[in-house]
Subunit: 79 residues, 2 copies
């Protein structure tokens, strides 16, 4: 079974990395760029169980290790 986990900074948290990306893009001539935010994409492969169990375990993984719930949100996708 495969899953994608998307970890993004909460909207209210400043993102200096994203801001550097935005400025980089603008200096390359992409003047239309208004904002950029950088998050993580974690692709996980694991031994298959039923979808419900898998989703529950993935949620625990995010809460315990993959995301920092104070400043980050996460989104799961089983593929």
């Amino acid at each position: 079974m495969k899953a994608n986990v998307y970890v993004t900074l909460k909207q209210e948290v400043l993102d200096p990395q994203g801001d550097a990306v935005r400025r980089g893009l603008m200096s390359l001539g992409f003047a239309a760029v208004k904002s950029a935010r950088v998050g993580k994409l974690i692709e996980i492969e694991f031994d298959g169980k039923d979808r419900a169990t898998a989703e529950k375990e993935l949620k625990q993984m995010c809460e315990k290790l993959l995301a920092n719930p104070v400043i980050e949100d996460f989104r799961l996708e089983l593929v």
Copy 2:
């Protein structure tokens, strides 16, 4: 207009960060995890044009700044 850019290491490139995530998950008791790979998710907001132009510009952004084509693949998604 909003777009998500997913940047991942090519399959044949070693991913020490992903390996650290896998070992971290295993040591937390998630024994079913077989592999983990870490990539980037870049959320970009830009002034709207038609979809075709937007996709073309985003591809250029990836090739010029967001991804390293030697070791990384990218995937675009207009939202």
